[in-house]
Symmetry: C2
Subunit: 232 residues, 2 copies
DNA sequence: ACCTGAACACCGTTCAAGT
DNA sequence: ACCTGAACACCGTTCAAGT
């Protein structure tokens, strides 16, 4: 019995249990271990985008070979998942000041997660196609859920609120991301008003508000709905 | 001046303006045209997943060659975008019964979009990494926004509500999708309650409710928040 | 004028052969 | 015991050569 079995392919995020003895080379210090490899991968993805990130480039940056990577990780997906989890570790998902209300807990979580995505925009695609269940992701889920339960939220509501806020932040980041060109609102605004009158009419008001305000607006909307659900 | 310039790479979704004369071979009927190619691509993706979809397999299915595909499309991304737009065309985003309330408009949109994703789950990754701006996506945005404006929603609110519902549905689909293995709730439930007490406590209540109810719950939550925003 | 085989420069992954 | 060059079976994309 190794570690907890993960959903989907066999333990897809878990660090591969080292094949034989531990792969440390120096004396006490790990020299070049798995953590440093993941950190290097995150740096490469931040600097050059996930599109150009390959096992070749990672091996080169480490002064190693692609075959060696497979002694530390099961496959490329696992490396990407660990990379996401490393970045998630930067978030402080509970408010620093003492005992907050449940609303503050979720608001802080939303803003912190958004900050992580702002620092590592290239991680967005990877974050989207798997629910992160790495150690840092789990620790944060635990911390936030514990805080919500502590403030009296029913368990079912707490779990769904956590998910809802997570989805909102990711969804917002996707929308916000401007491709290589002009923002989406400009594109909508340039459509023919004759064929798309409603899109044109709403496009203007989209640009009037800054992204920070829009983020806060939508998050507040979600929390308002939650509050109503509780008082019911 | 061709068509409206799209965001990002030059007109990434628009059908490539045919190079020379129109590429129709028969007499009046298009025989094997771009639309059929996209339809075949969608079928292949539905049947075998987006992971195994390659230009080679598409060319084979069409009895053609990969090089020929580039006479109809700019690149693979464009094919995927058109595939998504074709699927989005299946949605009927306005309620069939006469003049509904704004709440019904958004609710219908949410359920319709969810139905499309249920029919074409393999499209989820593609839907996630670009905001769809194909002809069908635009037509639906137009229809829904027009209905919302007609029912008195302020333009800024209408635009954000549309986005919020879209994000919610996509986010829900991501969460709902079970990988190859057991659902996520099972995974959470199997974690050590000693180290993750809150996750364990909330995992139980997650499985108690069916996916349809959970979807409706979250959507209602969002709409409640919106309603409060309007009455303010 | 249209189509395509074959090439190009890559991938992720594996394994026999090195030390 | 550990590492890796080189291969394998693919990619998306291009273009010279066919008809």
């Amino acid at each position: 019995m190794t570690t907890t079995p993960a959903p989907g392919s066999p333990a897809w995020w878990t660090r591969r249990t080292t094949p034989a003895p531990a792969p440390r080379r120096g004396r006490g210090r790990p020299s070049l271990d798995t953590d440093q490899m993941v950190a290097t991968a995150l740096r490469l993805i931040d600097e050059h985008g996930v599109q150009t990130f390959s096992l070749r480039t990672l091996a080169d940056a480490l002064g190693s070979s692609t075959a060696t990577l497979y002694r530390h990780f099961a496959n490329k997906d696992e490396i990407l998942a660990l990379t996401v989890d490393l970045a998630l570790g930067e978030a402080h998902t509970t408010p620093s000041g003492g005992p907050a209300e449940w609303r503050d807990v979720l608001s802080t979580m939303g803003h912190q997660l958004r900050a992580v995505l702002a620092r590592h925009p290239s991680l967005l695609p990877t974050l989207m196609d798997h629910v992160p269940v790495g150690p840092n992701a789990l620790a944060q889920r635990e911390r936030v859920l514990a805080a919500l339960l502590h403030h009296g939220l029913p368990p079912a509501l707490a779990a769904r609120a956590f998910t809802a806020v997570g989805h909102y932040v990711i969804g917002f980041a996707v929308q916000q991301r401007e491709f290589d060109g002009p923002p989406l609102a400009d594109y909508y605004g340039r459509l023919d008003p004759a064929t798309h009158p409603a899109i044109a009419a709403t496009a203007e008001s989209l640009t009037a508000i800054g992204p920070d305000d829009e983020f806060a607006f939508g998050l507040g909307l979600l929390l308002d709905g939650l509050a109503q659900q509780i008082d019911r």
